[in-house]
């Protein structure tokens, strides 16, 4: 896995988060298998950062249920594709309850993380600076993870 693959993933995820959906689709389509793996790792680290930023400290399951319901209501087309339970589970897993996603396949996890990440970023109308800051941190986390995995 190279830095280029991670950079391409950042560009694809950034396009999605700034609502440039066509570019996001095109850039994701151009990723090869290593690039798709890098994208999945980056999505996970960005998701984890965004979830912890939003729910760190005290939170209840009711807070998560309400957040997910509001997000799915705001984006009903995505809401129909990503069920409430999957979205709640990936959030709670990022907050430490990892076992909750044991029974979810990777496709469902990725879809739920993508939808929740998008909703988190747009909940506070994050601007480009905030999106770039989130992705910079997430890319650093992803690079560290990929290096550890490669035994470097």
């Amino acid at each position: 896995m190279t830095d280029t693959e991670l950079d391409s993933s950042v560009a694809a995820l950034r396009a999605l988060l700034v609502k440039d959906i066509d570019t996001a689709g095109r850039l994701r389509g151009e990723l090869d298998s290593d690039g798709r793996r890098a994208y999945a790792v980056l999505l996970g680290t960005a998701f984890s950062r965004a979830v912890n930023r939003r729910f760190r400290g005290h939170h209840t399951n009711a807070d998560i249920i309400e957040f997910v319901a509001e997000a799915r209501a705001r984006y009903p087309r995505t809401g129909e594709m990503v069920g409430a339970e999957d979205a709640e589970r990936v959030i709670r897993a990022a907050l430490g309850e990892n076992h909750l996603i044991d029974t979810l396949d990777w496709r469902s996890i990725g879809a739920a993380q993508t939808a929740v990440l998008f909703a988190l970023v747009h909940e506070d109308n994050d601007g480009l600076e905030e999106v770039d800051a989130l992705l910079a941190g997430a890319a650093a986390d992803a690079a560290a993870y990929l290096r550890r995995r490669a035994g470097r």
Partner: protein, 148 residues
């Protein structure tokens, strides 16, 4: 009448949280929780959903209501299945068949929890609840008669 007075009274007691009446009537040996009770609950659910969303509504309204009900429901071990709850409400509002593939227990639990919430604002002595249950009973009787 196919739905009995007692079945209506049991459902009413359950909805207004009258545990004593619920226990007393529900515990009587001739109380039948069979088919007719399930149909009564389903028709009451449909009517309550249509009263809750009488005019323009969107799937976002349904998602929000289910989220609100689940967030207020404190029994984590027996939580309401959000997918089932949303499908049941949408079927009630769109007048389409209740969705297949949801087991009866999940469906009944979601229906009851949502129904309790939707009639929860009613005064327990309110005639509105009695009127809803009377209409639900009539619908249930018609539905059972047509089916048999």
């Amino acid at each position: 009448m196919i739905v009995t007075d007692k079945q209506v009274a049991v459902l009413r007691a359950a909805l207004v949280g009258d545990d004593e009446t619920f226990e007393r009537l529900g515990g009587e040996s001739d109380q039948d929780y069979g088919d007719a009770f399930g149909v009564l609950m389903a028709t009451a659910f449909v009517l309550a959903a249509r009263r809750r969303f009488p005019g323009d509504w969107s799937s976002a309204d349904v998602i929000r209501l289910v989220g609100q009900v689940r967030a207020g429901y404190d029994d984590q071990d027996d939580s309401v299945d959000p997918g089932a709850a949303e499908h049941l409400l949408l079927a009630a509002l769109r007048d389409t068949p209740m969705p297949a593939g949801i087991d009866e227990e999940t469906k009944a639990h979601a229906q009851f929890t949502l129904l309790s919430n939707m009639v929860g604002d009613e005064d327990p002595d309110s005639h509105k609840l009695d009127a809803l249950l009377a209409e639900a009973r009539q619908m249930a009787d018609q539905w059972i008669a047509k089916r048999s």
